[in-house]
């Protein structure tokens, strides 16, 4: 890990917040995508079963 001068806490706080928010957002987008794909697939198969 790099050694920073007196402001190390601020620097790590910034990158930490950035990383946390971006990763959390990516996770949320991925989960929403997966959920939509699953629901669409199940609807499509239900239709073809019932039709």
């Amino acid at each position: 890990m790099p050694e920073f001068d007196k402001n190390a806490a601020y620097i790590w706080a910034c990158y930490g917040i950035g990383a946390l928010l971006i990763l959390a957002l990516t996770l949320q987008v991925a989960l929403a995508a997966r959920s939509a794909r699953k629901r669409l697939a199940s609807l499509a198969t239900n239709d073809s079963d019932g039709a």
Binding site: D5, N7, Y10, C14, G18, T26, L40
Partner: protein, 243 residues
Amino acid sequence: MWSYFANPHKFLRLSDWLAPTFYAVGALCIAWGLWQGLWVVPKDEYQGGDIMRVMFIHVPAAWLAMASYSALAVASFIWFVWRHELADIAAKSIAPLGAVWTAICLATGAIWGKPTWGTWWQWNDARMMSVLFLLFLFLGYVALRASMDTRQKAARAGAILAMVGAINVPLIKFSVDMVESIHQGASVITADGPKMAAVYLTPLLISGLGHSLFFGGLVMTSMRTEIRERRIARLRAASLEGA
């Protein structure tokens, strides 16, 4: 030619390979920028020592905040004029993502400001205020769309708000030069070209590219989700009618 981009099927096929590519290249660029910014680049005592390294997350976030709002306004305009559903889907997807990067810009900016200028925030700084209200615009856009009864109304209301708010974006860029403030003046995009040394500028630009690509990937994935959600809604409505 433009109607090519209006076709959801073509978009789905395009984003099948383009989104992962954006994610991969974007993540690589961000990683390289991080490595340079945190390890390699020398600290600049004139700019306050190591703390200026925060610029490698703060500045790309600021660029993205403004660029994504512009994208929102453009998508809204395209929808408003040509009614391509894909443009509305794009606008709807961009807003929450833009809000997050705007929040990152504000948070990192405040944390950078504390040791540098002694204050977390300055209320009469036009640029800080403009970015804060850019965040409110994004959140207001999402709230407005959510409060409308139908998808069509949500699209129309959102489009009006996005276009009206577009006036805010140029104000951010030029406000620092118009209004005296403690915020650093423009050093990347100025009339004479970048004022920053290459050793800092290159990681900054690559980070900016990385964040933009990653953001683009997230937008595409969100759009794909929205396209699927709309299909689900239509299928459900159709099966209710048919049953």
